[in-house]
């Protein structure tokens, strides 16, 4: 009879033999019980593949194991040290902040880690500092310098993207296996040129395709150890997200401007306020606030949905990733963060970062069926921090 054998007394080796020998078609329950017993004996020793049979898919989320007050101490001590050292320590501070987040983020009980060399970051910053100064203040001294710097950065962007992705992946590890990046600058320039041209030609309507192509490029050239990332998404679905975000803003602006005028005359007629530009002055700010909030919600919507879409169509080797962050929750978190940061004059920033990170990682899932033991280290890579720091300085998003 199927399902009657008790496998709980079996050793792992006996279970393996049983799994190989069993006729799955005839005894599906027994087969499932064997797999369950094997999993129970420890994912560490289990094999992903048994004589060509693929393991069951089992999604597990990432998790974050720390709290805001622990991060606050790290954050403030590092800012203080950066001040005392006149900014030199800021490179070390950056590494420690990242390391804090990576090391407290776990998957299947083991944490991620961040390995960037602070000296490399410091070098990158020293190279970029004159560029940033020229960009921000150049026009005060030499008219046109700001624009010149901007154009230079735009031309370097494809190159910087590759450097940033290489640096970040190379310096990220899980279970002592590094991530890596194989994209080449040449491909990156081709991609920027092609999709940049499409964006311009469509008068900006198709501009999300640039964002889509950039993210796909980063994903498809990433690897964990020797396991390459792959991406199976399409631009149509991605474009819809940005289209709805644009629609949200348009509707918000329309409703606000249309109804504010009505509201003003309504209030005047109900409360019998005589016409005086001062008396209902607050109504001037109302549309600004409402449109601002709509814009904020639309931005969160686009970033959450686009992130979900990209993650959920990504696989590492043959293991898929899923993400199901909720727009409503994220709007709530970001909005309350914003209020708290204002109310505390910035002291809430560490808690704000922890809240967002905790929520985000808890809604990213990886197929860990059969354990995560079968990844092999890839080739070693060297990377400088130029691209990564440029992303920081000029506020470009180089991430997935």
């Amino acid at each position: 009879m199927d399902g009657t054998i008790d496998y709980s007394g079996f050793t792992l080796e006996e279970l393996r033999q049983a799994a190989r020998g069993i006729d799955q078609e005839q005894y599906p329950r027994n087969y499932r019980n064997i797999l369950a017993a094997k999993k129970w004996l420890g994912a560490d020793q289990a094999e992903t593949l048994i004589s060509g049979e693929k393991q069951e898919r089992r999604l597990e989320s990432l998790s974050f194991h720390s709290d805001g007050s622990e991060y606050f101490r790290i954050w403030i001590v590092n800012i203080c040290l950066s001040i005392i050292t006149l900014g030199i320590y800021s490179a070390w501070a950056k590494v420690r902040r990242r390391r804090y987040f990576y090391r407290h983020t776990r998957l299947c009980g083991d944490n991620f880690d961040y390995h960037a060399n602070p000296v490399a970051i410091l070098k990158g910053r020293l190279i970029l500092l004159p560029l940033l100064a020229a960009y921000l203040y150049g026009d005060f001294f030499v008219p046109g310098l700001t624009l010149g710097t901007f154009v230079l950065i735009i031309f370097l962007l494809p190159f910087l993207l590759v450097r940033a992705a290489t640096f970040n992946n190379r310096n990220t590890s899980y279970r002592n296996i590094r991530f890596g990046f194989d994209g080449a600058s040449k491909q990156s320039y081709k991609m920027f040129f092609k999709y940049g041209l499409i964006s311009v030609a469509s008068l900006g309507i198709a501009s999300p395709i640039m964002e889509f192509a950039r993210r796909r490029f980063v994903i498809e050239n990433s690897r964990y150890g020797s396991a390459r990332f792959s991406f199976a998404g399409e631009f149509g679905a991605f474009f819809k997200i940005y289209f709805f975000a644009g629609l949200m803003i348009a509707i918000g602006v329309f409703i606000t401007t249309f109804f504010i005028n009505q509201l003003e005359s309504l209030i005047r007629s109900i409360f019998d306020v005589p016409y005086d530009p001062e008396s209902l002055g607050f109504l001037v700010y109302l549309p600004v606030v409402l449109i601002g909030l709509t814009y904020f919600a639309a931005m969160v919507y686009a970033s959450v949905r686009a992130g979900n879409y990209m993650f959920s169509h990504t696989s590492i080797g043959d293991r898929s990733i899923e993400a199901n962050l909720s727009v409503r929750k994220m709007v709530y978190i970001q909005f309350t963060n914003m209020l708290a940061i204002i109310a505390t004059l910035g002291l809430f920033i560490p808690w704000a970062h922890v809240r967002v990170h905790r929520y985000r990682v808890a809604h990213i899932f990886v197929d860990v069926g059969g354990g995560l033991d079968d990844f092999i280290a890839g080739e070693k890579q060297d990377a400088d921090a130029l691209g990564e720091e440029a992303g920081d300085f000029f506020d470009f998003d180089f991430g997935i």
Binding site: D44, E70, A93, R96, N176, A377
Partner: protein, 343 residues
């Protein structure tokens, strides 16, 4: 028993194993890995400090690592092996007293930078800037004012010429004499007002001329505006505001949206404080000028009081004093206090 549980990763595959690590009399560690006992002398390993309570990382030869949880009571025997500098930083990061001390250092130095450091740097930068920038900014500013607010002056051309001549003769001995230009405009909703553009152009509204009871009052107001130009207040304001935002981003070392939001808070607060300081500087300049020309100080006070009545600000509450961009009129009409005459 110097034994501690650890996770071992060989760096070749993602397989991790639970191992036991034993400390041998300060000479090294002994690890039991997959049935084999391996000894690592101290100089073959390096210990990495925890960040928060993330635990210690021991790097073994050939890219292998041991990860020891901080929660393990034995974990702290790793400390003596770790790099000394990072060890103490890791300690600072975990204890509240250090964090509170750091907070005070950050607040104090931030305060110093906002109130002294940035203004001083901005002053020197403003001096170093080429004049073209001031002309460029002024042209833009004037276009905006003309387009948005001003109307053509309806003042009698004779009166315009009279004030113009007075202005020219009064200020011909100042260093700025050949840059100063006086323009007349109708203020409309800006009412009785005067504006100084960094290039040396001063705009006075018809309403202000009409409000004045004596030509010396107009001179006093113009002297205040010349003070703004002399001290390069527009450029310094621009530099200081962007400088305080940049400072915040650099301090927090954080370039994300949360930091940008945080950066906008001090910017708003200090903008008004900077503005009040500049007004006081310009007042000081005006009083000194009046003294040098033998004009009674109350001329400036008289017109300020009338301006206040028209604009209805400066009610004297602490909040408006802090948040408003002009100093309280009560403070302004008493003139420069002793010791505030410098530059």
């Amino acid at each position: 028993m110097n034994k501690v549980d650890a996770r071992f990763f060989d760096g070749k595959s993602s397989r991790g194993s639970d191992v036991e690590v034993e400390l041998i009399e300060n000479s090294g560690i002994r690890v039991a890995i997959q049935g084999k006992i391996l000894d690592f002398p101290i100089d073959a390993i390096s210990v990495e400090c925890p960040v928060g309570d993330s635990g210690y990382l021991i790097h073994l030869p050939n890219d292998a690592v041991l990860h020891i949880g901080r929660s393990d009571p034995m974990a702290d025997w790793c400390r003596p092996f770790a790099v000394a500098g990072m060890n103490s930083i890791s300690l600072f990061e975990r204890r509240w007293p250090y964090a509170i001390a750091a907070l005070f250092v950050v607040i104090a130095s931030g305060w110093w930078a906002l109130t002294s450091g940035i203004p001083i740097v901005a002053k020197y930068l403003a001096k170093a800037m080429p004049n073209e920038i001031e002309f460029f900014l002024s042209k833009q500013g004037m276009n905006l004012l003309d387009h948005q607010f001003f109307g053509e002056s309806e003042l009698d051309p004779l009166r315009q010429r009279q004030i113009g001549n007075l202005f020219a003769s009064m200020f011909e001995e100042t260093e700025l004499a050949d840059r100063l230009t006086l323009l007349f405009r109708k203020g409309n909703i800006l009412g009785a007002n005067a504006f100084a553009l960094p290039s040396g152009t001063i705009v006075i509204t018809d309403e202000l001329v009409e409000m004045s009871a004596h030509d010396e009052e107009i001179i006093a107001i113009l002297a205040h505006e010349v003070g703004h130009i002399d001290q390069q207040h527009s450029i310094r304001m621009l530099l200081q505001s962007s400088g305080s935002a940049a400072l915040f981003v650099v301090l927090t070392g954080d370039f994300g949206s949360a930091a940008l939001l945080g950066a906008s808070i001090p910017t708003v607060l200090v903008h008004n404080a900077y503005s009040r300081e500049f007004e006081t500087e310009a007042d000081d300049y005006a009083y000194r000028f009046l003294d040098s020309q033998g004009i009674a100080r109350h001329r400036f006070a008289d017109i300020l009081l009338r301006l206040e009545q028209e604009h209805g600000n400066g009610d004297g509450s602490a909040i408006s004093g802090f948040l408003s961009s002009h100093p309280r009129t009560g403070d302004r009409i008493n003139g420069p206090r002793p010791g505030q005459n410098g530059d």
